[in-house]
Amino acid sequence: MHDLTLAQMCHGLARRDFSSAELTRHLLERIGTANPRYNAFITTTPETALAQAAAADQRRAAGDAPALCGLPIAHKDIFCTRGLRTSCGSRMLDNFVPPYDATVVERLAAAGAVVLGKTNMDEFAMGSSNETSYYGPVKNPWATTCVPGGSSGGSAAALAARLVPGATASDTGGSIRQPAALCGVTGLKPTYGRVSRWGMIAFASSLDQAGPMARTAEDVALLLQVMAGFDARDSTCLDRPVPDYAATLEQPLAGLRIGVPDEYFGAGLNPGTERAVREALAEFQRQGAHLVAISLPHSGLAVPAYYVIAPTEASANLARFDGVRYGHRCADPVDLRDLYMRSREEGFGDEVKRRILIGTYCLSAGYYDAYYNKAQQVRRLIRQDFLDAFAKVDLILGPTCPNPAFAFGAKGGDPVAMYLEDIYTIAANLAGLPALSVPCGLVDAKPVGLQIIGNYFDEARMLNAAHRYQLATGWHRLAPPALTEAAA
């Protein structure tokens, strides 16, 4: 039952092959057994999940089944959940119980989804390996000595380990796509403003975007359908109609123009990853798409620009954690300054502190123009590269990450080595473009991802391309060997 996709579970529930209560109980048992091995969940919610499942079964019996009625999901622990601890992977929020639900949480609940728990993540979504979580790293189900990617590593690992068929996640520089690639699942970062961020704990507000993860593009479409749409409570959320994503999934790809950027196939790309991505491109050609060589000349500046913009915004956003209104407070503060200084020292981990200090530096008197303003100018150049490319092509395809999952501690000594794992994902955030990752092969017995970048609000076309690719290939159906061996 745990191998089924959301779409298959939906059919099974509709045919009364099984109930949501049975499905939920089965997955909760799996989580109970397997989570100690993967550490994918920070919090599980068996009691409320079973109550939600029972309610969903009743609604279905009464002939009132909304889109996700009785389907089990998990939320990244960055989304506020009313009455349920929301830690953001940080000691700072270890005791934080929000008084409200994020819009995404509200919408999925209204559509009938059953929430199994909150998934592990890099602290405040700052990381590409899940090693910065206060709750310990998530382990990659494909190789438990390796990282699952980050920051949404808990959601990705839970999907790969068949603990849950769908999950929410967030992406500031690759935090949906990179763990999706490293764990062999499908994840979409929508256009900036497509999905409400209200109640999603802020990291870098001009880059952050919420999105879905699942094991197939069809399931991602199902979740995005519910998550997307206008929300007056998020001032950056855009009021644009949400298309019917399922309606165009099957469209043939004949005549589709696919841009292949030279800069995404240069030095630093693992040869195995390159081979897998080129084979995927050939599959699109077989389906009638045209490959067009393009250039995104400012790609090399994306990581440097990001590490000015993201830390500056983080330093402002994380100023709210002051030990006064919520979150960690140090013991016995002697005065207000001491309360701030020690609460923040104790509450934040090393990577978060590093980024706050860098952001503070970039915004300090005398450096604002040299760093922040300059980075925002480069950001416009990067966006212009994409605008020029989308005048000629419909989609841009390339690798999601340069390498498959790396071992724990492999990038420990050097923050920049870790940052460069996001070299292909960051530009889409700077430009606000939608981008998704689908599994496209194995390298050293670990999954690698194909990245599909679309034009603004063109998620339907990206999902169509990803779905057609998944109809013709089987990479997304592969389960980690440990799972199939255990079942045999």
Binding site: Y192, L238, A319, D335, K374, V378, V416
Partner: protein, 95 residues
């Protein structure tokens, strides 16, 4: 551009994060690595390029200046470390 230990102390004060004596050397090294990375931006020719703050060039939506929602003070303050009579408690600020 690289920064020294004294700069870290100033940044720590601005950011209101105490930096421990044991970690100040590692913190300085890590930040200098990142500054080397972002210094690559200097090579970019950005003459006449306007900064881009919102990727969609969107501007803030306006609304009527009316009360749109009310908050439940008790529910919000339930997450606070120290509260009394609806107020947040902090160490004495004024003698």
């Amino acid at each position: 551009m690289s920064i020294q230990r004294a700069d870290i102390e100033k940044l720590a004060e601005l950011a209101r994060i105490h930096v421990n004596e044991d970690t100040v050397t590692a913190t300085t090294l890590g930040i200098n690595r990142v500054l080397e990375l972002i210094d690559q931006l200097r090579a970019a020719d950005t003459t006449g390029i306007a900064p881009l703050a919102n990727p969609l060039d969107a501007t803030q939506r306006l609304r009527e200046d009316l009360v749109s929602e009310t908050i439940d003070r008790d529910a919000l303050q339930a997450a606070a470390p120290a509260v009394e009579a609806g107020l947040y408690l902090v160490p004495k600020v004024v003698e």
